[in-house]
């Protein structure tokens, strides 16, 4: 099959960018979107042109490195799918695809389709961890956790940190990412010790970089892991609690 691409090309953070049109012919429907870009890049290199810079790593939808806007949607039109797992059979033969990087002030553009997502690392540093004693490994299943709770925590932990939620959000908010990262620890017994400081810190660091949530729900639809905005509600409620808690009595609640 054949596709017409309009790809955002920009040499560096300060350079002016623009869409450039490419035609990619003779690609197979079984290819992933990134493999199609590989083919195009090979052709560009053969012609002596700069290849298109894009992020990728695992190519199996688990690392969160890939991600571009395809026709105005993060990771393209297929729900719950990362760009690397999106196949060309999803598009019509001869389709025009507009490919753009994530756009958010918190994600400064590096080159072409690559943005710098270290703001997410700053948020994680604020409390995306638990404190454990090192030493011999604890026995398995020592801490009982109800199945339902474990499942919900796992749903949140599915976040791969790709940034599609920010890209999708009309407000450029990172609430879905932060909520997922907070919730997967806050839901579990191991996460309780730092629960309130984690919530407070991570929310406040998030707000230094990103916008605020107005509950559009775009993020949930863009998320390659289909993480629910229910976690945002949990985060909001935990944030308020964190502010109101008397931390000296926290063990009693």
């Amino acid at each position: 099959m054949k596709v017409n691409l309009q790809v955002w090309r920009q040499e560096g953070p300060e350079a002016a960018g623009a869409f450039k049109t490419y035609e990619v012919d003779k690609i197979s429907e079984e290819m992933s979107f990134l493999e199609m870009l590989d083919i195009l890049n090979e052709q560009l290199v053969n012609k002596g042109e700069e290849p298109i810079a894009f992020d990728h790593d695992c190519r199996e939808g688990i690392c969160g490195t890939c991600g571009v806007m395809i026709n105005g949607q993060p990771h393209g039109p297929q729900l719950g799918t990362a760009t690397c797992q999106l196949h060309m059979r999803k598009f019509d033969d001869g389709a025009t695809l507009v490919v753009e990087p994530w756009r958010a002030t918190g994600f400064p553009l590096v080159r072409d389709l690559i943005v710098d997502r270290s703001a997410f690392d700053r948020i994680i540093e604020g409390g995306g961890y638990i404190s454990v004693d090192t030493g011999s490994a604890p026995d398995a299943n020592l801490t009982p956790i109800p199945k339902m709770v474990a499942d919900t925590a796992f749903d949140a932990a599915a976040c791969i940190g790709c940034g599609a939620c920010v890209a999708a959000c009309p407000n450029g908010a990172a609430n879905l990412f932060t909520a997922a990262k907070i919730s997967h620890l806050n839901l579990l017994p191991q996460g309780q010790a730092e629960r309130w400081s984690r919530t407070e810190n991570m929310v406040e660091i998030m707000e230094e970089y990103f916008g605020s949530c107005t509950n559009h729900g775009e993020c949930e639809k863009a998320c390659p892991k289909s993480i629910s905005i229910d976690f945002i509600a949990m985060m909001n409620s935990d944030y308020v609690k964190a502010k109101f808690k008397n931390r000296r009595l926290v063990a009693q609640s």
Binding site: Q73, G172, E194, G211, S212, V240
Partner: protein
């Protein structure tokens, strides 16, 4: 080691309001206050459909009762003014929170998407909250000038303080005014449709047992407020109330 960052802390309510999550909480709570006012205001005004009492329109009596709430236990107009002050404060907070969150969101995406965006979940109501809200704010000013202050040219020429029923009929006998009111109520309905759902999320009220009801509640509230308000000016214009 805990992850507590020691910052210089502002007094609690200010520190809380400084965060966007806190502001959204304030938006939701003030939103609830405003919804309660809108519904009470609407239900109270349905008195225009009631028959006269001893030759005085019931809504005139109702207005007088509101003005002298709890009088003579407390000085006249005091309770009314306490309620009004509260309402104004709530309204201003709602506007201020919305305004500063909007600025924050603008800053969060200074370089906009160049290609067309395809929205999957965001709807017309959620994307026009700032516009429906702002335009509705102007409507409120007009409405006050029209029926509360009697300021020309918003108010009808025959406007008179305390003659609620007569003013009501006079103002809505003007077709453009009626149209403006009905359109504004439509905007309010659209605003409420997103707001009344959104507030549950902002307050963190999320429970598998009632999540499915939240959208239904928002739709019903929006329709209730739109229809309940719009019938009043329309009834005057089409001569059902005279």
């Amino acid at each position: 080691m805990t992850a507590t960052i020691e910052k210089k802390r502002a007094p609690f309510p200010i520190a809380f309001y400084r965060s966007a999550v806190g502001k959204k909480w304030v938006m939701a709570l003030t939103g609830i206050g405003l919804i309660l006012f809108v519904v009470a205001h609407m239900v109270g005004n349905w008195k225009i459909f009631f028959p006269d009492v001893d030759g005085i329109p019931e809504i005139d009596l109702y207005a007088e009762a509101l003005r002298s709430l709890l009088f003579p236990l407390v000085p006249e107009h005091i309770v009314l003014w306490i309620l009004r002050t509260g309402l104004i404060a709530i309204f201003l907070l709602h506007i201020h929170a919305a305004y500063s969150l909007t600025l924050m969101n603008r800053r969060a995406r200074t370089e906009r998407y160049e290609g067309p965006r395809t929205y999957v979940a965001a709807n017309y109501a959620s994307r026009t909250m700032r516009w429906s809200g702002t335009i509705f704010g102007f409507f409120v000013l007009f409405h006050l000038a029209d029926l509360t202050w009697g300021a020309q040219p918003a108010a009808p020429a025959t406007w008179e303080h305390g003659e609620v029923y007569a003013n009501f009929i006079a103002t809505f006998s003007r077709a453009p005014v009626t149209l403006f009111y009905v359109i504004s109520m439509g905007l309010l309905g659209i605003h409420l449709y997103h707001g009344a759902w959104s507030m549950f999320q902002s307050l963190g009220l999320n429970h598998p047992r009632f999540n499915a009801w939240r959208k239904g509640f928002a739709v019903s509230l929006a329709v209730f407020v739109f229809v309940g308000n719009a019938i009043m000016p329309l009834a005057v214009l089409f001569g059902f109330v005279a």
